[in-house]
Amino acid sequence: MAGNNLQSTISVHGRTLYPTCKLLNSSKMLGFSLQSRTDRGLIVCSAVGHNTLNSDELGLRNPTRTSEILELIDQGEKTLANSGKFGRFGGIFVPETLITCLKKLEVEFNWVLHDPQFQEELSIALKDYVGRETPLYFAERLTNYYRNKNGEGPEIYLKREDLTHGGAHKINNAIAQAMLAKRMGRKSIVAATGAGQHGVATAAACAKLGLDCTIFMGSIDMQRQSSNVLLMEHTGAQVKSVAGTFKDATSEAIRSWVGNLQGSYYLAGTAVGPHPCPSMVREFQTVIGKETRKQAMEKWIGKPDVLVACVGSGSNALGLFHEFIRDEDVRLIGVEAAGYGIDSGKHSATLAKGEVGVYHGAMSYLLQDDEGQIIGPHSIGVGLEYPGVSPELSFLKDIGRAEFYAITDEEALEAYTRLCQLEGIFPALEAAHALAYLEKLCPTLASGTKVVVNCSGRGDKDAGTVFKYQHKMEGEQAQSE
């Protein structure tokens, strides 16, 4: 289909022109996702003709000098300011009806970022309601576990986002956006949730601020994370079931929002979606990284050497990383879900196995088949089960600023049990992916390297899953004996 011109069916952004597009033979250069929902005559996500340059032409693949990375980051910030893009990723791929709304949101967001009164209220809410600052905890027994025979090894610190109200980092963003929505005069909030943590956080924030709350959740997820459903309903949210998982719930939530743009506010839970959502969510999560810098200085008068975080869509990772992207001596490591294995077809390793396309309003890597249809992801960490990923993380991968690896379900479960037994902390299965990567990482690190792992949530919600899995294993073992 080389040479076909594919024009955008929607105007993306007044300032950026997308004249023609070449659907190249190798779909690796430009993949796209086409999901048209015509029940309301809306096209939620659509293929867009895009003037995407071959990344080799931009010299992005292997920058020879590290300061090139800083230049690329600078360029990235410029494109963000101009067009809502991180390099070639991101953007505002949405129907006309939403453009004005998103523009208004961007204006409000920029305003509150600099409004001392809003910042003060937010800071009190983060301190007294959410329970910040969260500690930077030296995991002594985990550190000892990774020491070699000579007693050498890195030092492992955990950033304790599991101690926040609701039990995950999601609340940082939910409370800030709920406050923003209230300020904008909206009375009801709409959101989508995968594992339920964002739903729980949103429901809590809405209860506190007296806003109506509707949460869309995939029916499969509702079964797997039923305890979170109860928590949401209990705080007064209405939970609506959508056939499928998080990606389907997101589409439904956006559709519901579009039907009531004046009165309702779509509370994005993670750093995906059309601009300004990825930037907003990242900005509200960046308190994690800011605190880490300060606490590292207090504890060892320095910076972390390595930051490790799990990556579903990317909000907790960006929350920790963003503060340090210009510190080239700080390694950024994202860990995705390899599910049953990276070659099994049942995983959520978007940055490892995905291709570039547009999904839920932004250009980014995503898991798609040859026809541009979304591949249903899988992970035991339900919060990691998203076929897309934040455009900002796609950008950081492309410019070589961050590294991404993948961990299987089994490795994650082992890491869950390991942290329980060594530190008495139940990590969320999502965070367990980041912890599992330490097995591969620590042997390669110099003695005394300071590693900070984002313990992005607590794992009480997952005890049932681990229970079932262990029983299943025991049953299988017994059968084979």
Partner: protein
């Protein structure tokens, strides 16, 4: 020397006036209700009184010593334990007293409370709850919540567990035992044992184990051994007795992490001291927020640890009202409740003299509350003392009122409180209309309620 077999014996005290509290004798008996069984049941703890008690009392005004040198709060408290445990308790008390002035220990504990537990917990102004209690003319008290629900493991229990584990390590003990009802204290104990690399054995009533299978699994995931107790009613009080029995047998190698301000001296004092950080932070935060002190402190009372934790700092501040809220279960007259301070009588249970729920034969009455943490037939001796001298007030709240409060805080503030805490929250309904405008009320939000949502939903649907 008086010797009493088969505790708990029912000891009636005649207190014509509060002056009698300051009597030289720890106990005054006008009668002992017969029959007092001469053959103790296997799950009872013996009690002995020794001459020492009376000699040490002198003329010290008891009210200033909380506890006094024998571990008494007025006539309550004490060390009603078998001889084998006396040495262990003395050793524990000596260790505790020396660590209180050991800066290294304090620094280590502070570091753990900060980085592991997540202290300080915030003092949160509950705006919508305050609004809910405003009278039609817009006047009403201001409600603040001390957020112990934000601690690691989700309740105040960890403050004490972490400190006792550190203490045990200092004593060179490698083995920890504890009892648990619903599993919260068990999980907290297993948590700290995992953190400090200590062997952990949790005694749990077999009936409780069935009802709380997930908590049992969590304790096992943390590396603890959970031992079922089948004796008696196979619930908390039986698990406690079994744990004490284990301790008697293994006292050299083992430390018993008691979960509340009950039990023989020095436990009530130690557990109170380890929780006192709650009150200390509250004082500091109140000063920062409104330049003053709280006017009223409200907390739920099961064994009494979270209440003592917040009250202790303010006991000598006479202008601060202390209110404890117990569980009235199905109602105070139903016979199915856990309102020890309201309906109990003085006796000895698990090593301490205190109010407890007992029948005419001095046998423990099985308590009931929808919240497992308040489901204890005794109460900390210091609470019994504070009640008797009129320093603290105690009320009770039914299961139904607690569930209402559970729902209310969830909807108004997005905070799901533990059912235990909900009892304290429910009392606000009766308290707030009586308070002048602007009264500062601090309620100890002692735990989060994720564990209770299933229970609440079941009951709300009925």
């Amino acid at each position: 020397m008086a010797f009493f077999a088969a505790a708990p014996c029912r000891a009636r005290t005649h207190l014509a006036s509060s002056a009698d509290c300051y009597s030289l004798l720890p106990l005054k008996f006008d009668r002992i209700t017969p029959p007092c069984h001469l053959n103790p049941k296997p799950h009872s703890v013996f009690c002995t009184l020794s001459k020492q008690t009376m000699a040490e009392h002198h003329l010290e005004p008891v009210v200033l010593q909380r506890p006094d040198s024998f571990g008494r709060f007025g006539k309550f408290g004490g060390k009603y334990v078998p001889e084998t445990l006396m040495y262990a308790l003395t050793e524990l008390e000596t260790a505790f007293n020396s660590l209180a002035s050991d800066q290294k220990f304090q620094n280590e504990l502070d570091g753990i409370l900060r980085d592991y537990v997540g202290r300080e917990s915030p003092l949160y102004f509950a705006e919508r709850l305050t609004e809910h209690y405003k009278r039609p003319d817009g006047r009403g008290p201001q409600i603040y919540l001390k957020r112990e629900d934000l601690n690691h493991t989700g309740a105040h229990k960890i403050n004490n567990a972490v400190a006792q584990a550190l203490l045990a390590k200092r004593l060179g003990k490698k083995r920890i035992i504890a009892e648990t009802g619903a599993g919260q204290h068990g999980v907290a104990t297993a948590t700290v044992c995992a953190r400090f690399g200590l062997e952990c054995i949790i005694y749990m009533g077999a009936q409780d184990m069935e009802r709380q299978a997930l908590n049992v699994f969590r304790m096992r995931l943390l590396g603890a051994e959970v031992r079922p107790v089948h004796s008696g009613t196979a619930t908390l009080k039986d698990a406690t007795s079994e744990a004490i029995r284990d301790w008697v047998t293994n006292v050299e190698s083992t430390h018993y992490i008691l979960g509340s301000v009950a039990g023989p001296h020095p436990y009530p004092m130690m557990v109170r001291e380890f929780h006192a950080v709650i009150g200390k932070e509250t004082r500091k935060q109140a000063l920062e927020k409104w330049g003053g002190k709280p006017n009223v402190l409200v907390a739920c009372v099961g064994g009494g640890s979270n209440a003592m934790g917040i009250f202790h700092e303010f006991v000598d501040d006479k202008d601060v009202r202390l209110i404890g809220v117990e569980a009235a279960g199905f109602g105070l007259d139903s016979g199915k409740h856990a309102a020890t301070l309201t309906k109990g009588e003085v006796g000895v249970l698990h090593g301490a003299m205190s109010y407890l729920l007992q029948d005419d034969d001095g046998q423990i009455i099985e308590p009931h509350s929808i919240s497992a943490g308040l489901d204890y037939p005794g109460v900390g001796p210091e609470h019994s003392f504070l009640k008797d001298i009129g320093r603290a007030e105690y009320y009770s709240i039914t299961d139904e009122e607690a569930i209402e409060a559970f729902k209310r805080l969830s909807r108004l503030e997005g905070i799901i409180p533990a059912l235990e805490t909900s009892h304290a929250l429910a009392y606000l309904e009766k308290l707030c209309p009586t308070l002048p405008d602007g009264t500062k009320v601090v309620l100890n939000c002692s735990g989060r309620g994720d564990k209770d949502v299933q229970t609440a939903i079941k009951l709300l649907k009925l």
